[in-house]
Symmetry: C2
Subunit: 307 residues, 2 copies
């Protein structure tokens, strides 16, 4: 099947308003009055973000969700996406069908539609880049640079589970139950970005970021952009029981630097309660300080490095 056959068969059924059924090269982004349009793009790569043996539907969902995570961390509701796909010769029709099925399921779950893209052949590894569009009420994007001394730091969900899943795929030794193991590996394969939290986030947050490279590394970006110091209180990190069973006493530090969480870390006034956990506070200064039981700890490798 050639490029146009693949588009017509697998991707045209996913097309939304403005995509012209993918029959044009160019799409029209339908505007939303009173809203700002946000855009973000992230690629996932075989061997880093997924494995060749992962189900195609999981790969598709991860590629989409890492982008929905960026939008959610800005307080935006997702709306559309573009798909750049470079396919190695080994990809089969069954793989493509499963891949498109994963996208279709997530389109229903998150209320997004495909707007366009590009499909080509590669001799290299499978490569998927997605560009996602979302809307926030005008002027309400939550940026990285709004953290203030006196804020507390909060995080949604639990931290480190995806890193634990990756460690298991990389054959790190463990004695987990099958259920605990699957809980962690599933978090690596199919992230659960808190998309529905976006409206609440923009009501309370001064600054926010999604955790992709690692909590410490990503909060470092917030500290740098905001010109403040972020103090993480390690013992406050929300950690799942399966992860603690996997990593024992090393759980806190490994979870704080593992990355691939796709949860939202944000700063906001102290004393808030909701579907999130307080993990630290903001003071004058610069950088990130990681404390365990009150003592500053050196974190040699604060997150995943792309190079």
């Amino acid at each position: 099947m050639d490029e146009f056959g693949i588009i017509a068969r697998y991707f045209a059924p996913l097309a939304g308003e403005g995509a012209f059924g993918l029959a044009d090269d160019t799409a029209l982004v339908p505007p939303r009055p009173g809203h700002d349009l946000l855009v973000t793009t992230d690629a996932v790569a075989e061997g880093t973000d997924f494995f060749a043996f992962d189900p195609a539907s999981a790969i598709a969902r991860k590629a989409l969700r890492v982008n929905l995570s960026d939008l959610a961390a800005k307080g935006a509701e997702p709306a559309y996406y573009l798909l750049n796909l470079a396919l190695p010769p080994s990809v089969t029709a069954a793989w493509l069908e499963d891949f498109a099925g994963g996208l279709a399921a997530d389109q229903r779950e998150f209320g997004v539609a495909l707007l366009g893209g590009d499909t080509s052949r590669t001799e290299g590894p499978l490569s998927i880049a997605i560009t996602a569009f979302g809307f926030v009420p005008e002027g309400r994007m939550v940026r990285r640079d709004g953290a203030r001394a006196g804020d507390d730091i909060y995080v949604t969900g639990s931290i480190g589970d995806s890193g634990g899943g990756l460690a298991i795929f990389r054959r790190e030794k463990h004695s987990l139950s099958e259920q605990d193991r699957d809980a962690l590996t599933l978090r690596y394969r199919v992230p659960q970005p808190p998309v529905g939290f976006a409206p609440r986030l923009r009501a309370i947050a001064h600054a926010a970021i999604d955790i992709s490279d690692g909590l410490v590394a990503d909060l470092g970006h917030v500290a740098a952009a905001s010109g403040v110091k972020l103090v993480i209180e390690g013992e406050a990190l929300p950690l799942s029981a399966p992860l603690k069973a996997l990593w024992g006493e090393k759980t806190i530090l490994r979870a704080a630097t593992a990355g691939d969480d796709y949860q939202i870390a944000f700063t906001a006034p102290p004393g808030l309660a909701g579907p999130f956990t307080r993990i630290g506070h903001v003071t004058a200064g610069e950088g990130v300080e990681f404390r365990l039981d009150g003592a500053a700890i050196d974190v040699p490798r604060p997150g995943y490095r792309h190079f």
Copy 2:
């Protein structure tokens, strides 16, 4: 240098309004009142669209221009772009500087700015995907599906030069002068999409497409989308002297199927004059008929196939 160092050093200086200096993951697309926002995305790949030995600045400009070409063919003025870059370990600081320099030059030439992107490491070939944004006055996008029986077919620029340049890079034998050779290879390396023609195009065209896969193949998309038959009169094709020197009597058919032209083919009322050439007409029916001296010719391979 890591991802963030590369972004700060080479790409942040290219950032436009809404990009927040590339210090956030997500950009805000500044709206243009009274206009529709169009978006298109195309990847270029080593070995297909460029060679590893090409100057990095030329690779950058080609990656950007294949997208500006899509926007121009819809009657849009380009405004912003996103850059997805997967870099093999062989890429050096000098290469990145030259690459960013090519983007900077084209930003000045076409009035566009960088809005965001994603940079990662790959073990595969260098891969570049660009997503470009442009504006058309509301409701004025030129689509593929507007061709009508009675229209003439027109094309901007000359056809086949880039294909001739690629043939030379692929060591096809020739006896061209150095000047003629360079004229063709430069067209392959750095396309010249008629971006400034967009306002005129939307004033006259019923349907349009940019020629990327090959004139016959791309007009096939217009015929299919519009539900009409497109008749190309081969002897009317605008061909450059260097190309005729390269391909002799085979020039017409090879030029019509070579691709990588990044000129605009469009249908519009007969009798128009401007910076374009009449190359055929539209009738009732379906598909593309290629005529030479009045006789229909079978075109076995109407354009580049991605698979």
